[in-house]
Amino acid sequence: MKKIGTILSLCCILVISGCGGRSTSEGITSMIIGGSTSIQPLMESIAETYNEKNDALVSIQGGGSSVGIKGTEDGTFQLGMVSRELKPEEAKQLDQTIIALDGIVVVVHKDNPVDSITMEQLKDIYTGKITNWKNIGGANKEIAVVSREEGSGTRDGFESIVGFSSSDLIRNSDIQNATGSIISDVSVNEHGIGYISLGSLSDSVKVLKIDGVLPSEESVKDGTYKIQRAFLLVQKKGEKQGSELFDFIFSEEGKKLIEAHNYIPVERK
Amino acid sequence: MEDIKFEVKHLNLYYGDFQALKDLNINIKANRVTALIGPSGCGKSTFLRTLNRMNDLVDGVKITGEINMDGKNILSDKINTIDLRTKVGMVFQKPNPFPMSIYDNIAYGPRCQGVKDKKILDEIVESSLKAAALWDDVKDRLNKNALGMSGGQQQRLCIARAIAMKPEVILMDEPTSALDPIATQKIEELIDILKKDYTILIVTHSMQQASRVSDDTAFFLLGEIVEFDSTLNIFSNPKNKKTEEYITGRFG
């Protein structure tokens, strides 16, 4: 009995000491930002630096674009990260700010001899018209299509630019719900093809040129690389919180951070 | 010495719809050992547990009739059962010491009553253990866990624990059925000694035990008391045929 008491009281001390946490954060800027997991790593970097500089407490949550939108609407987040276009009814509630551009790159296994692909081929592969690598100059291997999940901003962007609708996606396509998972999947499967955010590109997979253009900051920025999308931060209409954060994002330092993540900084609108 | 300790009048007990005791009338004499015998399920334990209101703990028990203990009806609602149980101690079938030290086991009851003074407790522990013929066995290891004792010692500890409450009556429900013959023997000898100071009721399945330890014997059958007499009469010349069949092992 005594032991239980000891344990419980220890826990209490721990918790009570922790309760102070909230009060220390008062007075300084404390903000929660949540939403798209694609933007999450970038915003985490930004917040890290920003917090250090301004003695602020900006914290980043994942969840997904929809969570970001919902969270912002109901006040869970002060800002929401969204990696897809807002739906009309959402746009009515929220203000959006583009903070960066992102290229969506198509990746295959490192040993895949194919280097380049046309937009048309890409569409055919993802809608199941082309099912073998040999049809586009690769080995005689069935293509294993990997896609993101329904609702993902990356997928949204990819499908709308490549030009097919969600329901046309080849049905046996693998679906992964995170960039990392797609990389893992493709990096171990010689049959695989997938698409990820440019900022998340890793050495373990091979990037394909689209219509001969290799995705890079430059090619995205100048528009030669077609498959791209915007990263948004959204905010309840009329709210003005976080303007200092926006200042930071659009400052030189902010832009450098964005670039360091292989995204393309944009000017404030 | 032939005082009556419990005067049971028209006692009926129901578990829900099932009548477990049927119109019992019996006078239990003080400072004697009364054995309750009878086939399994005849209501011996139920009767015993009525005497310290342990049946209150069972759902759906209904009791009618009277049990007068020293003139007070202990079945009345006004009786404080917690008080009653300190006066009517109980020892169970399986030795059940609490998983604490020998000392704490004995001191448990007094402490529950609010006794805190270490000197008084020491004194109670010593005298109870002595009364239970256990003092010499354990005096050097009062702080050892009681579960380290042998079965027979544990049962004597349980008796000592009951004695520590300074009860008037000790109820024992098959106190030796979990013990080996030698430990049983010791408990029986102890009962023989204790009856000088306490009124003892003992439920037993063993005819030999009943005959060896008790002064009076009540034979239960299907919730009724078929015969109640001195143990010698019951065992040498029972009035009722059923009793004789039972004690001679011809029953059923």
């Binding site: - | 040498s236 010349n237 001679t248």
Partner: protein
């Protein structure tokens, strides 16, 4: 059937056999009183050994039963009563032997033999009593057991008569008187023991020690 029941039945059967044997002896004595004769008397004396063996045997059986089967209540009474009846029967048997001995001694003593003949109807009475007792035992018949001692009273009276006969006959030889006196006591004692058996039967059936206002 319980082992205990079987054993007790066996024990009581032994007692009954013993009883039959004892009655046989006393019947033979009755014959001897009427027609004194050496060989039958010898046989009676010899047969006593069988009765003694019966008692030893019943004792052993009974103790084995107590040790091994631990009877209580009626069962125990059956064992104890068996022992007691056997002991009484043995004595009654002994007295038959005494009678036979007496007959042999007095075969050439016509005066005594004459008295003896007159005593035979008393002996007949004794035999009858013993037979009744064995019936009461077999049937565990308490009322019969209660009744039999009245026979003893009659027998007592008859014995008083017998005593008078002896004295009336004015036995010349003192030695003879001595012996006849012994014989007289023998029958009396036998009937005493018979009454004891009745007490045992009552105890067996009722569980109470009954005392038939017995006189020495």
């Amino acid at each position: 059937m319980l082992k205990l029941d079987r054993k007790l039945e066996k024990l009581e059967t032994s007692v009954r056999h013993m009883g039959r044997q004892v009655i046989e002896q006393h019947k033979n004595c009755e014959v001897l009183f009427e027609h004194p004769e050496k060989s039958l008397a010898r046989q009676v004396m010899h047969n006593d050994e069988i009765i003694n063996n019966y008692e030893t045997n019943i004792n052993e059986q009974a103790i084995a039963d107590i040790v091994l089967l631990r009877p209580i209540a009626t069962d125990l009474r059956r064992v104890i009563v068996a022992i007691k009846i056997a002991s009484d029967l043995e004595r009654i048997g002994d007295y038959a032997k005494s009678m036979a001995k007496f007959v042999i001694k007095n075969l050439d003593n016509p005066a005594t033999l004459k008295i003896l003949k007159e005593a035979s109807f008393i002996q007949q009475r004794l035999v009858k009593m013993l037979e009744d007792i064995m019936i009461a035992y077999k049937q565990k018949d308490v009322s019969l057991a209660y009744e039999i001692p009245t026979q003893d009273k009659e027998l007592e009276a008859l014995l008083q008569d017998f005593r008078k006969i002896v004295i009336k006959n004015n036995v010349a030889d003192l030695e003879d008187a001595f012996n006849l006196s012994a014989l007289y006591r023998t029958i009396g004692r036998s009937s005493d023991h018979a009454v004891n058996i009745c007490e045992h039967i009552v105890y067996l059936c009722k569980g109470i020690q009954y005392d038939f206002d017995k006189e020495e």
